[in-house]
Symmetry: C2
Subunit: 332 residues, 2 copies
């Protein structure tokens, strides 16, 4: 890519929007012009990009004139309303919301797994759910080696996955408890400080949450594996940044630890951190602000014939959102 | 039991020891005399029981004269050294450590599940691992209904499971972070505040931890089910008190949600808290200091033919330790 591009970020003031700007800087993305879009409330404020203040503009129907790439991260409603507007204006949209992820006309892409799917786009490319993306970064290399049938997984999800307000809520609750003041709850239905909530996203009829079913639904599309099954329990934990997932995976072919380790060691965007005797395993605290995901605690599953258990962690604002979106933009 | 008993608590100053005293009081256990035993360091201090101060004595070979029931909770080494001494002096030992749990001559008991096994004791009865006991409180009623084959589980374990020093470590780390001071690590190898550690107990050759394999090893003994399989990932979370476990369970017989709910609703020592639409599910923060365990998030497993997923939480100092030990003593 030698041509400089006009990039727009929709939802520039959000937790992911801010990381998108940093990622564009860090990866030296060929930004010729950067347009920051947000609600009327934020319009007029500035955010720094490459040392220069950029004034935030209000998102409107005429916001996308001349834009080449529009990175959306302002929730599903905004994406449903404005993605088509941006496409009509000539932009390619990389959408971080769940609005188009299951649309058969919209590629759902993790560049390290199905980067080629980008080519099929008709204007919009969807960025997957953060927990799904992080899990697949470790699962897909094993799938290529042994062919995955199903997984049983439990997540440990950071509050920043909910957004900037949730980060403040955890901090405020911890301070309130230390000061003996009553705990206020605005973002989560229950106290998140010193607690864990088995509730991420809304509940579906079968008893799973939407978030829990994304692993199977989005995993099938990303891995091109329509019979993949995933039974997941998603849990919010009092961690500021980076999600972790405990995964028990069953494969069609016989597994070996040696081959599994080799597949994981060679996988792009993934680091193996697996020296339990030295207390080395992926930790959300250490993987925060880290581009690569980390996998460890790899072992043969004692309750499955061709099974592996592992623990994967990744910064969900980066690989789960901003980094993956910019990587997609690089492929366009 | 009309006779008043002479009860000894070994490890009286520990997190579990203190709960044992409270539980004896609360359940109106027929204590005629209470002897509190601990290391020389604590000897001479007092702890209140039924409003009276009781002086802690140093644990010695002659500590058990006249003792009817000795509740041990001072770690495996102390139990291995002194349980036989107590039995020789005529006491029945209820041991909360892992020292005797796999000894075929020592019953391993959760009163609601295999209370009858107490009758087979030869002086020592073992109290199970806390995470195992809490999980089985919900799994066993389902096992009776559908016969469990295997489970895949991930735990969310509170720091109080490690002991009083770990509670202080979490509190100190949170304060240090708020004050911008460096975080000190004494109990855990990594910061536990705003982090999760996939590391509970020591690592075994196969890559599981001892804690993780207790679910299968102890579960088989308690449920009298020698082919039960359990693949578990145990994780420490920054919660002060009460463990939670996400369980994916496969059964031999076809399952139904109606029958499962009924079995759980009728189970002793267990409460069903399962109204996700009202944001009601078991939470470690609310189940803390609560005798009963709680189960919720019950659903049919989308990746298993006869499978159920559930979320169980319980106060591991009570059902996982002190309460279960006193319940065993009541059966003697």
């Amino acid at each position: 890519m030698s041509k400089k591009l006009h990039v727009a970020i929709v939802g520039a003031t959000g937790a992911v929007g801010v990381e998108m700007m940093k990622t564009l800087e860090k990866r030296n993305f060929p930004v010729g012009q950067l347009t920051l879009l947000a609600s009327a409330r934020s319009a007029g404020k500035t955010l720094p990009f490459r040392g220069e203040p950029i004034t935030i503009k209000e998102l409107r129907d005429d916001s996308f004139a001349g834009v080449d790439v529009a990175l959306f991260s302002a929730g599903g409603d905004i994406s449903r309303k404005y993605a088509a507007v941006a496409v009509k204006a000539g932009a390619v949209v990389v959408d971080n919301s769940s609005a188009f992820r299951m649309d058969p006309d919209v590629p759902l892409v993790v560049p390290e797994i199905n980067g080629d799917d980008v080519k099929k786009h008709r204007g919009i490319i969807a960025n997957p759910n953060c927990t799904t993306a992080i899990t697949l970064m470790a699962l897909y290399p094993l799938h290529q080696e042994f062919r995955v049938k199903r997984i049983f997984a439990s997540s440990y999800q950071a509050v920043s996955g909910t957004g900037a307000q949730a980060i403040a809520e955890l901090r405020d609750q911890v301070q309130a408890i230390a000061a003996g003041r009553p705990v206020e709850k605005k973002v989560y239905p229950h106290q998140i400080a010193f607690n864990v909530l088995p509730h991420v996203d809304s509940f579906l009829d079968g008893g799973y949450t939407k978030e829990e079913m994304k692993m199977q639904n989005e995993g099938r599309r990303i891995m091109h594996h329509p019979t993949f099954k995933a039974s997941v329990t998603c849990v919010r934990v009092p961690v500021y940044r980076a999600h972790s997932v405990a995964v028990h995976a069953e494969f069609e072919r016989p597994v070996s630890l040696t081959a599994a380790r080799e597949a994981l060691a060679q996988a792009p965007g993934l680091e193996v951190v697996d020296e339990p005797a030295k207390c080395e395993y992926p930790l959300p605290l250490y993987v925060a602000e880290h581009d690569n995901c980390q996998v460890g605690r790899l072992r043969l599953d004692c309750a499955l014939e061709n099974g592996l258990v592992f623990w994967v962690a990744g910064d969900q604002l980066l690989k789960g959102a901003a980094l993956n979106a910019v990587q997609i933009a690089e492929l366009i």
